[in-house]
Amino acid sequence: MTQDDAFAADLLRGHTDTIVLGVLRRGDAYGFEIYKAIRDATGGQHEIKEATLYATYRRLEKDGLVESYWGDESQGGRRKYYRITDAGRAVFRGNVAAWTATRRIIDALLDVKESQQ
């Protein structure tokens, strides 16, 4: 893993909770679907480790930001689906607003130009 990758992975991991909430906003999903949605969104370059995700689900559920229920798959393991709650939506909105504000500050501090590649 190069230096750039490590930096990006770190940033991504720091926002795991919000990212998971963002995925669930589109609809209920079980662990592997969430994992895949994140991996696909990064173009397969990055992934958030499954262990990190399991810890995130447990934390989010404890805080009441998501609810879980078991699917009724007839074959194979039963899937544990997660559903975002109203509290989760509110926290997500707040985090997105904070991210937008912070991104602007960091862009200014790092002297990022909009047109820069």
Binding site: E50, A51, L65, K80, D86, G88
Partner: protein, 298 residues
């Protein structure tokens, strides 16, 4: 389906105490691992490799179970009052102003509407309906607006759900308004159709909203509620069950008394029996829920 997954998963959980929590996690992981292994197999891995890699990506299961969810020590020092103070959210000034306006609309609409319907004010049916419309809109806006505000203990409701509660309240309140106009005699009996439609639609909508409502408590509220010592009904379910039986008996007797009153002294005595029944239930509740635990043999 990949049989290796089950063996490898058992190995990963070896030596871990199988609490319900751990069992839960294991079952959740099983389905995810199978999906991941299927994906790897589709990409060309042998079943054996696929299972092994899927498990390897999992990392250490033990760390996951250790850190959550009861690892946070109970901080007994924080009582509920100080928590409320720390997380206090002040209502927005705009909301306070709006709430006052909605309340005035409701009060003015109901008062003038009833005065008109009772014949004190010379209003025809149209303006009376409009006044109750104003009142219902005021009440509904009050409900919807309050629900979309952030409070000390709750997150705001998303806009569309708050709008749903607004609509349900509007329909219910307007329906009751039509019912009132019919009862007071200013509206012909066909007005009951509107009343019934409004109230039924409101009940349906409220039921739907209630059934699909998800958590909106803030994390600190949930934590505080979790740390609340259990009350007597939680500690002694048999006491709660006994209370349920008593309640059923109280209401059965109350309705019997109501029936007797209606057929003997007149229907206007019925509310007295109702109030008495309710008071009795509350007294029993107080006795049973808040009794101090006495040692056996009192």
């Amino acid at each position: 389906m990949n049989p290796d997954i089950h063996r490898l998963l058992d190995e990963a959980f070896q030596g871990i105490e199988m609490t319900p929590d751990a069992q839960d996690l294991k079952e959740e992981m099983r389905a995810n691992l199978m999906a991941r292994a299927d994906e790897l197999a589709a990409a060309g891995a042998t079943p054996d490799e696929a299972a092994r890699q899927a498990i390897a990506e999992l990392g250490d299961v033990r760390a996951l179970l250790d850190e959550t969810p009861d690892a946070a020590p109970q901080r007994g020092a924080d009582d509920y009052a100080s928590l409320v103070l720390r997380h206090h959210v002040r209502p927005k000034p705009g909301f306070v102003v709006r709430a006052v306006v909605w309340s005035i609309a409701a009060v003015v609409g109901i008062t003038l509407g009833i005065l008109g319907a009772a014949g004190v004010l010379p209003l025809s049916l149209g303006p009376q309906i409009a006044l109750f419309g104003l009142a219902s809109t005021g009440i509904a806006l009050l409900v919807g607006d309050s629900l979309s505000q952030e409070t000390t203990t709750n997150h705001p409701l998303p806009q569309n759900r708050a709008a749903g509660y607004f609509l349900a309240t509007l329909l219910g309140a307007y329906g009751l308004g039509f019912g009132g106009l019919v009862a007071l005699g200013t509206m012909p009996v066909w007005g009951v159709v509107f009343a019934a439609l409004g109230v039924i639609a409101s009940i349906v909508l409220f039921s739907f909203l209630g059934a699909t409502q998800t958590n909106r408590h803030k994390a600190w509220t949930r934590e505080a509620l979790r740390n609340e010592p259990p009350n007597r009904f939680e500690r002694e379910p048999e006491t709660a069950a006994r209370f349920g039986v008593y309640t059923a008996a109280i209401w059965l007797v109350t309705f019997a008394v109501i029936a007797v009153l209606v057929f003997t002294v007149g229907w206007w005595w019925a509310p007295v029996a109702f109030v008495a029944g309710f008071a009795l239930m509350m007294l029993v509740l107080a006795r049973m829920l808040f009794t101090s635990d006495k040692p056996a043999g009192r």
